[in-house]
């Protein structure tokens, strides 16, 4: 587990350095500010789907943290 954490941090710091030259100026954020371009544009849909697939499959997580358990799995 400790190895995974260190590897993750290393990977992310490499990614972050690579990313520092990419992006947009503040005045170019018009599209990105719209609801449909958010990372979680339909929170309720995503929440309901997550619940369905959590109870019908064996994988959990990825896009976010926590969320609580249920007796369905």
């Amino acid at each position: 587990m400790k190895h995974m954490v260190l590897l993750t941090l290393l990977l992310l710091s490499i990614l972050q350095t690579a990313c520092s030259s990419m992006g947009v100026e503040p005045w170019q954020r018009g599209h990105l500010a719209k609801q449909k371009m958010q990372l979680d544009p339909y929170p309720i849909d995503a929440f309901l789907d997550e619940h369905i697939y959590f109870s019908k499959e064996s994988s959990k997580g990825g896009s976010g943290l926590g969320g609580g358990g249920c007796g369905c799995n």
Partner: protein
Amino acid sequence: MPPAAQALQVEQHDDYFCCRFQAMASPCEILIETADRQLAGQLGQLARDEAVRIEHKFSRYRDDNIVHQINHSHGTMVEVDDETADLLDYAGFCYELSEGLFDISSGVLGQAWRFDGHTAVPDSASIKQLLCYIGWDKVNWSRPWLALNDGMQIDLGGIGKEYAVDRVAGLVQQQTDCSVLINFGGDLYSSRARQTGKGWHIGIEQPEYTQSNKPMLANKLLEISSGGLATSGDARRHIIKDGQRYGHILNPLTGWPVVGAPCSVSVAAASCTEAGILATLAMLQGEQAEAFLDTQQVPYWVVR
């Protein structure tokens, strides 16, 4: 413009009348909480007449008013009337109070900075040259005599609209005790709370983009019961060159746009004029806009 478009439009709503007209290059409206259509019409006309009067008297784009006379005086003395003198006294006071940031002689910078879609950023030399013609301290003002150095200009555009709102408010309040909202293109004033005890609901347009990625309401909703509100905004007019953004709020002391200015600043104060001065000064503080407004202890809304 056809005469019909210049006329006063009176609309009735549930519990108030709305009178609309065009003045000072803005859509203007006055909302009066009354059931009396005749009173509403009278006040609307009163508001329009006063707005047009102020526009005609103080616009720098006309050639038949005191401002034109002053700006073409070529160094000679001009005698001004009481109203103009009061405004010049006030402008001078604001100049001192703001340590030079508010300056009605800074209009000449418009010769170098054109925010009309061209990407030309003026060079330092031309700006430095213009600075010779800027500075209220260079003006010879001894009420009622004003003498500008040749080449200097005054521009009351920075307080004109807000002053008009307050003047109209004063006149209207002499005629009625009803709750009134005066809104000249986003600069507004409310005399008192409405019958329900609540204020008038107004929307302040939000810029299309901000630094954060969050979706925002197109208009910030404010409820104003009494006092004035003015907004200083930067979102529309700017130049982008070499990845740098130059807003249109210029610092009269340097001749350059303010660095780190917010997209918009709205301030509420006892009068629209005062709100306008505070909003402008806040913008000129750039990154420190919020800190400045915190010190002034006024309600404000800053969008970055």
